[in-house]
């Protein structure tokens, strides 16, 4: 599950940083007057730490950016569904989709910025894009499972922002 792995990876990183801090705090005494010696060793660790971070950065960037994640899906002629946000409701050209059918939501807004986020039957975000006045953002989604999906607004848009919800019924493939 993507959401939980993101959380676990972050927690792992933070625990690592906490452990390094704890190690240093627990070893803050007794005083070693030879700071020159400590910093010489520190600089060696720092260099490898820096090289490691840079290498990890290059690897993760290449792995996560190629192919470019926001590219339109390769599906030929996906079904296009217009999605218009306004304070405080969604208007979808169609609220029913078939599982496995490539869909392209063409998202815009009539008034202020909204966020078009699709929540799965398990109440986790599947994908999202911004709904902006004057722009159309194309969001490609292929619903894998049948069930009740919901669209929530994820860009604060005023007093009923949290109530700006609509449903998408995903039916089994014929």
């Amino acid at each position: 599950m993507m959401h939980i792995s993101i959380l676990l990876i972050s927690l792992l990183g933070m625990v690592f940083i906490a452990a390094v801090f704890a190690f240093v705090v627990l070893n803050s005494g007794p005083r070693d007057e030879d700071y020159g010696g400590i910093s010489t060793r520190g600089y060696i660790i720092r260099r490898w730490w820096m090289i490691g971070l840079c290498a990890a950065g290059v690897l993760v960037s290449v792995w996560s950016l190629i192919p470019f994640p926001l590219q339109a899906s390769s599906a030929e002629s996906p079904r296009i569904i217009q999605a218009v946000g306004r304070q405080w409701s969604w208007e979808l050209a169609s609220n029913s989709v078939e599982a496995g059918e490539p869909v392209r939501f063409r998202v815009t807004s009539q008034d202020v910025n909204h966020g078009f986020a699709i929540y799965g039957p398990d109440d986790k975000i599947v994908a999202q894009t911004q709904a902006m006045p004057g722009y159309f953002n194309d969001l490609d989604v292929t619903f894998e499972h049948a069930g009740k999906y919901r669209v929530l607004c994820l860009e604060y848009c005023g007093v009923a922002h949290h109530a700006m919800v609509t449903e998408i019924a995903v039916t089994e493939k014929h």
């Binding site: 972050s10 007794p30 971070l53 910025n113 975000i125 949290h162």
Partner: protein, 491 residues
């Protein structure tokens, strides 16, 4: 301090009073706005308290604008205090900035509480003009005008700081250490890290506030002449550039407290070096270039900007993790440091900053942003920066100045309480984000509410810790003789 140093420095008697005023007001406001935060989390938990959505969104706007502004002012006080050791600053201008800011605060608070303005502190265009009856045009204009006045107040003191820096160092670039970095001048070990950080903050924040002023004026014009409607994506770019730079400048200002005070505790120097200068030049450029990571879900943006946003987002964490956090840890390791309220707050602040980078960098990845953008993951990472980074820097500074850090055992217990509450609060946000709980929702679904309650309780613990640290400081503050010399050996 050498005689030339003294010749440039602001006279000691002039430095303290205004800084005390900033700190006194800042600590009180922080505590008040924390309470607002706790109320919001409790309302999301729905067990202890319910708030009508319009009230919730007003409080949200108040908490956001208030915390950002107060963090800015408190971090400015840290920056001004230590920079004034190196250059001649004008305390009257510094005071004028505070007074203007207070007028701005009155406008902002009034527009929210009396005018019911609730378009969030980011005033995302064109929302201020589309309240659907919740607030008037006048309330929106007052809020936006208040932010503009706050910006003017900052620019005023930055002008004084810039002129003073140029007078002593010749140019901002030289204060940033560029001639030393590029080998045109030898490394001067007496060049203060404070001056380097101040130069960086000046460069980025003047740019940030200038862009902020432009977008605020455009918003005002749009409110007055609705036909004059600027492009929404352009406005979004300007707002996030301004917001990102301004809030980042708070941490790069406040970290000066760590550079100045931690070495006194560790009895070891924090000197400039070529890697140090390179790191600060890098963050200067990256803080200006990274804001597109806020716009990853705006598919209308050119792809190269999204790619740059992701890469710079990762890269901008490296100088912190490699230079500042690591440097601080090296200073502390086997130093025989005296652990008191001030020193532990400063080390906590480095931890909060470093740890907060991880969820930030991960969310800066386009793949992750598709499912985490505008969830509570986002407040999760920035509360690490602000609540466990900037604020402990400010509190550590205040504790050191007023009490020489010596707040006894209560001081250490207070820091432990604060750190525990803060970490739990941040985790409650991050877990919420991983469960796709949206940010900025007045009403939470039942399955999300337990996290709101955990958050409210954690926030309550933070508030208790803050009061335990801040109340003794506030008591001593009026009569405190600000510490300007080193820390004694371990007690």
């Amino acid at each position: 301090m050498t005689t030339t140093e003294l010749g440039y420095a602001t006279p000691e008697a002039q430095r303290a009073p205004v800084v005390k005023l900033y700190l006194g007001i800042g600590l009180l406001v922080f505590a008040g706005l924390m309470l607002v935060g706790v109320l919001m989390r409790a309302a999301q938990g729905a067990a202890m308290l319910t708030l009508a959505p319009d009230v919730f969104y007003q409080l949200m706007t108040l908490h956001g604008a208030g915390m950002v502004g107060t963090a800015g002012l408190a971090a400015l006080a840290v920056n001004w205090y230590f920079l004034s050791q190196h250059v001649q600053l004008n305390p009257k201008i510094f005071l004028a900035t505070l007074l203007l800011s207070l007028v701005a605060v009155a406008m902002i608070v009034g527009s929210i509480l009396l005018g019911h303005f609730a378009a969030a502190w980011t005033f995302l265009y064109p929302l201020p003009a589309f309240s659907l009856g919740q607030w008037s045009k006048g309330a929106a204009l007052t809020f936006v005008g208040g932010l503009l006045l706050l910006g003017v107040a900052f620019l005023l003191v930055y002008l004084d700081m810039g002129v003073a820096i140029v007078r002593r160092y010749g140019s901002i670039a030289r204060a940033l250490g560029l001639p030393m970095l590029f080998g045109r001048e030898p490394i001067d070990a007496t060049h203060s890290p404070t001056v380097v950080a101040s130069a960086m903050v000046l460069i980025v924040n003047v740019a940030g506030i200038a862009v902020g002023a432009i977008v605020l004026i455009m918003t005002m014009l749009h409110l007055i002449y609705p036909a004059l409607a600027p492009d929404a994506l352009l406005m979004k770019n300007l707002i996030f550039f301004f917001g990102h730079v301004f809030i980042n400048a708070t941490i790069y200002s406040a970290v000066i407290a760590v550079y100045e005070i931690l070495p006194l505790y560790a009895r070891r120097p924090w000197r400039v070096s070529r890697p140090f200068l390179a790191a600060w030049l890098a963050v200067t450029l990256m803080v200006l270039a990274v804001y597109p990571h806020h716009l990853l879900m705006d598919f209308a943006m050119p792809p190269w900007m999204a790619i740059m946003g992701q890469i710079v987002s990762y890269a901008s964490g490296i100088p912190v993790l490699v230079m500042t956090a690591f440097g601080g840890l090296m200073l502390v390791y086997r130093s025989g440091i005296r652990w008191d309220a001030a020193s532990s707050l400063l080390v906590l602040s480095l931890f909060g900053w470093a740890a907060g980078i991880i969820p930030a960098v991960i969310d800066g990845m386009i793949h992750v942003n598709l499912v985490m953008h505008n969830t509570l993951w986002v407040p999760g990472h920035f509360h690490f920066y602000l609540l466990l980074g900037v604020l402990p820097m400010v509190l550590g500074f205040a504790s050191y100045l007023c009490a020489n850090g010596q707040q006894g055992r209560t001081g250490l217990v207070a820091v432990a309480v604060y750190a525990t509450g803060g970490t739990l609060l941040c985790l409650s946000f991050l877990v919420s984000g991983a469960l796709s709980v949206p940010r900025r929702f007045a009403v939470h679904e039942e399955s999300w509410q337990w996290l709101g309650n955990v958050g409210a309780l954690s926030g309550g613990i933070v508030l208790i810790g803050t009061l335990m640290i801040a109340l003794p400081i506030l008591q001593k503050l009026p009569r405190a003789r600000l510490a300007s010399t080193g820390i004694g050996a371990r007690a």
